[in-house]
């Protein structure tokens, strides 16, 4: 009689064990089939949040970029996870080649300016990469989560999935059609209300298909010059490319990868290098030789020659209202006669560049590009 539990009993015991284990230590990361993405972000097990704090699961590695895309002053928490034993292949230019099963995550969050639950959302215009503390935790009394975007690598390619966080900050839900939030940005002097837009799944491809003809979804950030920087891991600070290589997540990295260029760190690089890094990160996903904006004949990639196709003395083509009565994309020495700067300095959807992911003006980015154009020699 004893010693033989019925099958159902076994299952129940297993479920209980899972439950007990789960409440103490979460289950590992799970890759779901491409055609049935889960409604709840927690089902992936990458990001763990209980309403009080957010942290990453075991094996999920956070990272920062040298020059991130500007997204309405949102702070961004990035992570990479790969199946055990798999590793990404290093590439000198372009993004690394990631193995099937890779999950990249990006969590958009803000520092709160007001109490939890306030409407509209009052947030601080903060100047840092993310709110993650030294212990690898994000304090949800101090920060508010808006959305988490996943990029998942399947056999047939990458899939983009936008998840939107709830007010209790313990779950995010799949919103393939995107979403909008009213946010008020506080910079200590004034409050700037704006509509924060969570892109829909198609719009993810608006940036993440940098070759418009091939139309393949690809990650944009994780490339050598973007990752070549220090990160403060719980075990201590270390170069990200070194760390990825050391833990077996990255194969083929050389001794000295391309120098990282940080747009916001004046000491590191020349204004030209910083401005070009900024334009690459913010523009070149469309404005490259094969991108959706190749219709304009403008190529702002970090490797593109600094000539007419880069906008120097280039008149516009189908600019519409975006010209601002200015003659050239970039007029050397004359930022106020440069179309590029006009479009960066506006938030009207008919004028603003980039077209997606920005409802506010990035003052610091405008300033950087303005100074660079002002210092460019030559005339048109």
């Amino acid at each position: 009689m004893p010693g033989r539990l019925p099958a159902t009993g076994l299952l129940a015991a297993a479920a209980l064990a899972t439950l007990l284990a789960a409440c103490g230590r979460p289950p590992p990361v799970a890759v779901h089939p491409a055609d049935t993405p889960p409604e709840r972000l927690s089902d992936w097990g990458v990001v763990l949040a209980d309403g009080r704090a957010l942290e990453f699961n075991d094996g999920v590695i956070p990272y920062d970029l040298n020059t991130p895309l500007f997204s309405d002053y949102a702070l961004k928490l990035r992570s990479v996870w790969m199946p055990a034993g798999a590793s990404a292949q290093y590439r000198e230019t372009g993004e690394f080649e990631f193995p099937v099963g890779t999950i990249l995550s990006k969590t958009f969050h803000y520092e709160r300016a007001g109490e939890r639950g306030g409407m509209p959302l009052d947030v601080v215009r903060a100047d840092r990469e993310s709110g993650l503390d030294a212990d690898g935790q994000l304090d949800l009394d101090r920060y508010v989560l808006v959305e988490t975007r996943l990029l998942v690598r399947y056999d047939e390619g990458w899939q983009a999935l936008p998840y939107v966080w709830n007010d209790t900050q313990d779950e995010a839900f799949l919103e393939l059609a995107g979403d909008v939030r009213n946010i008020r940005l506080n910079d200590g002097r004034e409050q700037q209300p704006f509509v924060y837009v969570v892109p829909d799944a198609n719009q993810c491809g608006g940036c993440h298909k940098p070759d418009h003809t091939a139309a393949e979804m690809r990650p944009l950030g994780p490339r050598a010059w973007q990752l070549n920087r220090e990160y403060r891991y719980p075990e201590g600070p270390r170069n990200q490319i070194e760390h990825w290589s050391a833990i077996g997540m990255l194969a083929g990295a050389p001794e000295s990868p391309p120098e990282g260029v940080r747009w916001a760190a004046p000491g590191d690089a020349s204004p030209g290098q910083r401005a070009r890094a900024y334009l690459d990160a913010n523009c070149a996903h469309c404005h490259n030789a094969n991108g959706p904006a190749d219709t304009s004949g403008l190529d702002l990639g970090i490797g593109a020659p600094l000539g007419r196709r880069f906008g120097i003395c280039k008149p516009p083509v189908a600019v519409g209202r975006g010209s601002g009565d200015r003659p050239y994309d970039i007029y050397p020495g004359r930022p106020d006669d440069s179309i590029l700067l006009y479009r960066m300095a506006h938030s009207d959807p008919a004028i603003a560049m980039p077209e997606l992911g920005r409802s506010t003006v990035h003052r610091e980015g405008v300033e950087l590009v303005r100074d660079w154009i002002a210092g460019l020699a030559g005339d048109c």
Partner: protein, 415 residues
């Protein structure tokens, strides 16, 4: 294998959620309509062969819509019945952005978008039929730039559509190949119809009225391919005298009000059997890139040809044009040459010539000539390159003909 494993894990996580977190459904501010979300979901999840229907009604949309799946039809119940209204749009440089082939859109309207109304960027076998794009407040610099805007497309039929109020071009076909634009109505745009850097376009049966310029055929520099071989025939191009309301700095902002048909820097263009009347600057204007007043001519790219060549104009009904040209210089020129009550001839030419293609008198060789074989119509060469020092009317060099261009043959499945 992975699927089975995942299923177990998913169950585990579900248990975890149920027991540990006490999570509830999403709570969000309702800032946009259910219809909008549903429509974008349909566009995201579309499969080849799908027909997505826009029901009757005015549907407010506040973010740009997009479609990336080929083989889809988007269909309303009529351009005055199924209306997507983008008034107050907060995001998106277009109303609807399509990157797909074998796409048909018909019987609906797109109104009041912040930027372009309908943009189709790369694709083959596209049909746009009985679509209306309109800025309902009338001509205004703040209107979006383009109404219907296919670019880098091939094998395209754009017919029976209506475009009103675009601050650039109502119908704009750019960098494309094998295009038919027929039986459309364009009104109160800066440019009614614009064909740019496109190879093999037939533009016929259209009504272009009350625009700044009726029908434009342009070539712009810095683009992958120059255009050529456009036929403009059997259109009505009437009274395009609306003041130019294009944003300064855009190429079309240099088009004078009162322009009927304008050829700029494009080659092998045929204009025949049209009714072109009462366009106050000129019924037909032929110009080079140098005449546009655009910047950047000094550093013209090497492979760009700024001259209009091999132009053939015949069989049109021309009347009433050139009586009140736009712009001080043209006004002064008209008064000086033709008097207060006189008019410019029907065809205005800036007179710039590529000397490599001209004879010793500076006249284009027969292959490249601007030929006007149209009843009594005359060409006015305003000699812009020499400060209008040697203005010529009715020069012999234009009394010529060219071999006619073949009709555009749309390929299967459109024909």
């Amino acid at each position: 294998m992975r699927n089975a494993l995942s299923t177990v894990l998913v169950l585990g996580v579900a248990v975890l959620l149920a027991s540990c977190s006490g999570s509830e459904g999403p709570e969000r501010e309702l800032l946009e309509s259910e219809f909008q979300k549903q429509l974008q979901m349909q566009l995201i999840k579309a499969k080849p062969g799908d027909v997505i229907t826009i029901p009757e009604g005015v549907h407010p949309i506040n973010r740009g819509l997009s479609l990336n799946v080929s083989g889809v039809t988007l269909r309303g119940l009529g351009m005055d019945k199924s209306i997507l209204s983008f008034k107050g749009q907060v995001q998106g440089a277009e109303g609807l952005l399509v990157n797909a082939s074998d796409f048909t859109i018909e019987d609906l309207a797109i109104e009041d978008t912040a930027g372009d109304a309908l943009k189709i960027n790369e694709g083959r076998n596209i049909v746009i039929r009985r679509v209306r794009t309109e800025w309902t407040n009338g001509p205004d610099e703040k209107n979006g730039a383009y109404g219907i805007y296919p670019v880098q497309v091939e094998n395209v039929l754009l017919e029976d559509s209506v475009a009103i109020g675009a601050s650039d071009a109502g119908l704009y076909v750019g960098q494309s190949r094998n295009v038919v634009v027929r039986n459309n109505r364009v009104e109160f745009n800066v440019a009614g119809i614009e064909i740019e850097n496109t190879v093999h376009a037939d533009v016929y049966g259209n009504l272009a009225r009350n625009n700044t310029g009726g029908i434009l055929v342009f070539n712009m520099p810095d683009l992958p391919n120059p255009g050529h071989s456009t036929r403009i025939f059997s259109n009505e191009v009437v009274g395009n005298n609306t003041a130019n309301f294009g944003a300064e700095g855009t190429p079309v902002a240099s088009v004078p009000a009162g322009s009927g048909i304008v050829i700029n820097s494009n080659d092998r263009v045929e204009i025949f059997d049209n009714v072109i009347t009462d366009n106050n600057t000129a019924n037909i204007i032929i110009s080079s890139y140098f005449a546009t007043g655009y910047q950047g001519t000094r550093e013209m790219v090497d492979d760009y040809d700024p001259y209009p060549e091999t132009i053939y104009i015949y069989g049109n009904t021309l009347s009433g044009g050139g009586s009140a040209p736009d712009g001080l210089e043209l006004k002064a020129l008209k008064v000086a040459k033709f008097g207060l009550t006189g008019s410019f001839p029907d065809v205005l030419w800036d007179g710039y010539v590529n000397t490599d293609k001209a004879d010793e008198h500076g006249r284009l060789t027969p292959e490249f000539a601007i030929c006007v074989d149209n009843d009594t119509a005359e060409v006015l060469n305003v000699d812009l390159g020499n400060g209008s020092e040697n203005i010529v009317i009715g020069d012999e060099q234009h009394r010529c003909t060219h071999e006619k261009l073949p009709a555009v043959m749309l390929a299967d499945p459109l024909y």
